[in-house]
Symmetry: C2
Subunit: 520 residues, 2 copies
């Protein structure tokens, strides 16, 4: 029962306090939610967002013995094969073992024993690495060790039939670091007067959107065509660039992910030629994310590098400085995918094509600021590009391991694709490549309403409920971008083959219950 | 013999062409010197700058058999011990060998053999790592694997006598990556209306200046006092912050490198207390670069962490949100320095102290955009913090190796310090810690003039001539910053001890010739 006057007094004091607090907070230099870089707050990376946070929480609860509707968390949110029991390629690990143990490798007493323990080609490769550097414990050249860069160049030359040189290769901590370097070189928006943008596919891998936000670059979206198996239509590219330029945006580059993530498409040669011509005409740097090049599943599809397509079209990789005169391209590859799945070791490379040397020097300087990428990852990149050859002592073992992984992944991709299309309101394109399915789901109106009331995007609502009921972690389509009013989720097919039936069973049961619950 | 008229015509055409070309180039979206991010072009990282480029060239010439005034390049430009024959700590490499070889570690047939080959504590540590993760080839938690983060927390707790928790620890690809994360969180200048700056010592390690340039953050310099053995005077800090604020700069953080790089000072407890109080009063985040904490050489000096000093002063590490209420600090450590020198493996950590959890979550998201740091580096960070203890089976070997490295480094530090002070016009402070000497050189006027005529900073001129005459690579003081009109260079004392006499001899001979040549 406060009297009106004292009420006014309290109100005035509160207002004053708020004002003081707000001024004080605005001026605070300490790290807090109101003084952190707004670009960082704005950046999103859904593959490891709130749904994964909840999964980590549930995992903890399971460990503490809490009774949940499931016994374990199944991480289908991320292409992380070795987290789901995929074994590493023995050849790679054997070579690393020798390289890391100078005691084993350089001691004449242990060396004979080493020869008994490891195949001959392992020793040869390890010694070649050891002889080409002081030690894996030394900083390397900031662009990467010479020997693995040479191996990458030879791999690219053989794959494409056009020579590549080590001078254009950078070794990085995974492909992500390379993409970050290119964003740093390309996006000038922190300077006044610049308004650079980069064309990014929707749906996309959220590294690209996150880096756009962090660098203040404009994300210029172009839509992949779901009705045409997620192909990339030139019409959509032209529309996107026209609209962006109309808004005063300087479009600098085009990101193409092939095989697609999250969409799994494998582009046709004809489509790739159109894309190359588009980049040449429009003066765009083609950023070719080709990390899934070994993961091709659809019959009749095969991987073609953008580099080979460009070279076939007559582009030479000589430095291009004028629009229309040739192609500028950077292509990315990684040890994390394919059949090696060495995600944790963080290795990747990118190759510059048609890029003037003055730019290479600037990227080299950028790399040198963090000194160099990790040497173990560098060596694994080298080995990815120089695997045991027919006749060498590890060859049979290597082929057995590789083929077992790839054929099992193909069976799982096929199984998941067929299964998803049996679900009510779910439709998935064939998984032509990569490690994911990205089905569309038609959600009942009531589910959409409930989701929005709960402050969730409808597909995030679906994914969160899937997690709570089954322990299966997938990523909502809203994390990758999608045509407005459509809903998707991305799931890997990486759980061990023996568990796949159970996973699809649980997903199917949940889906039925969810649809029954929300059906009108 | 062109006639005036046709001359005019040619001139007009040329002018038109230039105009067209300049407009065309300005609008070009292709990657070239005129369309690359200007911040990248502006950024400097002298440790790997033009002098190193020249050294790489000379190295190549030596390899090709060219006759030069020296037989080999001696890299004193960078703290890269294993590049100069320092051997890795066996315990660390042994554990990595087992962890990388699931075949060795999990196969009951090879396991008995493993037990014969490696000390018992190696096996125990390796198994503990293997049991706590699916595989080193899997992406880890973006903040780092749980077990090594726990080891870091225990190490910090024991070192300081105040408990630390794994939740505040981030594992990174070297300390540099951690510093980059903090710059990203702190500097808001890509947004309109912000003018954030960070206080950086002069001389500094050029990572800090490079990140300032790249992030568009203002480098607010404060000068270390060369006449007081490079100590950090509060007066100079106050002057620097006052001047910056007068210019409208929001000063966000203070970088302190202790032990100093390139300056080698070890701060006194009293000095550190003043610095902590200064940060608390002024609302600055203390960025404590403590990567050289194991490298203390001067008698009577010992390393004290800023965390211990702050805790001793009563600051608890509880989240601070108001200026004056406590200390916000981030401290950095690395596997690249100390006695391990595992530069190439890229491992580091940082600990958040007094930082609200909402900020930790944002940094976590930033780390997640590049997925995680390399797992091998993470494990080596864990081992750096949990080395063999008295009584364990590797202990004696470990102590022998560690002490040999540290005592040899100390002898080399002392030798270099004494030697430098014998040179005409050269004066070096005692190398109290870290891996460098940073002597001042008084250059003859004629040398300064010749340098400027040749387009060099005078100390860069000296260093380039040193390289050309002797093959010794050092870094000019201008790369680190110095009081105007003074000249320095930074040199490591990392060449193998047996080569040190020759290195000092060659440096001394060169110096005498240089001085004789330019003396008035």
């Amino acid at each position: 029962m406060t009297k009106p006057r004292s009420f006014c007094l309290i109100l005035s004091f509160s207002l004053l306090f708020c004002l003081f607090d707000s001024i004080f907070c605005r001026l605070s230099t300490l790290l807090d939610s109101n003084a952190i870089n707004p670009s960082l707050i704005e950046a999103q990376y859904a593959v490891r967002g709130p749904i994964l946070d909840r999964a980590i929480e549930l995992q903890k609860q399971l460990k503490e013995g809490k009774n949940l509707p499931f016994k374990k968390i199944v991480s289908c949110n991320i292409g992380n094969p070795q987290a789901l029991q995929q074994a590493p390629i023995s050849y790679v690990r054997d070579v690393l073992t020798v390289v890391l143990s100078p005691k084993l490798a350089r001691n004449p007493r242990t060396f004979p024993f080493l020869k008994k323990m490891f195949p001959k080609d392992v020793i040869t490769q390890a010694k070649s690495y050891l002889n080409s550097m002081p030690n894996v414990g030394a900083y390397s050249n900031s662009q990467g060790l010479e020997t693995p860069r040479q191996q990458v160049a030879e791999f690219i030359s053989a794959r494409d039939g056009y020579p590549a040189t080590a001078n254009n290769i950078f070794l990085t901590n995974g492909a992500s670091e390379g993409v970050r370097f290119l964003y740093t070189a390309l996006v000038r928006n922190a300077q006044p007067g610049f308004h650079d943008g980069i064309l990014i596919p929707i749906p996309q891998y959220p590294l690209y959107s996150a880096l756009s936000t962090l660098s203040k670059g404009v994300l210029v979206p172009y839509y992949l065509d779901e009705s045409q198996e997620w192909s990339c239509s030139i019409k959509s590219l032209k529309q996107a660039i026209g609209k962006a330029r109309g808004e005063g945006i300087t479009v600098r580059a085009l990101v193409v992910i092939n095989p697609g993530n999250p969409t799994g498409q494998v582009l046709s040669e004809e489509n790739m030629k159109e894309i190359v011509s588009f980049c040449v005409q429009e003066g765009l740097v083609l950023l070719a994310d080709e990390v899934y090049q070994e993961n091709i599943w659809a019959a009749g599809k095969k991987f073609l590098s953008f580099r080979k397509v460009a070279c076939d079209m007559g582009y030479t990789g000589e430095p291009v400085t004028k629009v229309g005169e040739g192609l500028q391209m950077v292509s990315f590859h990684s040890i994390s995918k394919g059949f090696m799945g060495e995600c944790g070791l963080r290795g990747g490379y990118f190759e510059l094509f048609g890029i003037p040397d003055v730019v290479r020097q600037q990227i080299y300087k950028l790399a040198s600021i963090s000194l160099c990428s990790n040497s173990i990852g560098q060596l694994v990149v080298g080995m990815m590009c120089s695997l045991p050859k027919k006749g060498s002592s590890s060859y049979k073992r290597f082929v057995r391991e590789r083929d077992a992984i790839l054929s099992s992944l193909k069976r799982r991709a096929d199984k998941l694709f067929s299964f998803l299309n049996t679900l009510e309101g779910v439709s998935a394109n064939p998984v032509q490549g990569a490690m994911y399915a990205f089905p569309t789901i038609t959600l009942p109106f009531r589910a959409v309403k409930d989701a929005l009331n709960a402050g969730f995007a409808p597909d995030a609502f679906y994914c969160m409920q899937l997690l709570e009921s089954t322990g299966i972690v997938v990523v909502p389509g809203s994390g990758f971008g999608q045509v407005e009013g459509t809903w998707h989720f991305r799931t890997t097919f990486l759980p061990p083959e023996k568990d796949m039936n159970e996973v699809t069973q649980r997903l199917g049961d949940f889906h039925k219950q969810f649809m029954d619950k929300y059906r009108e």
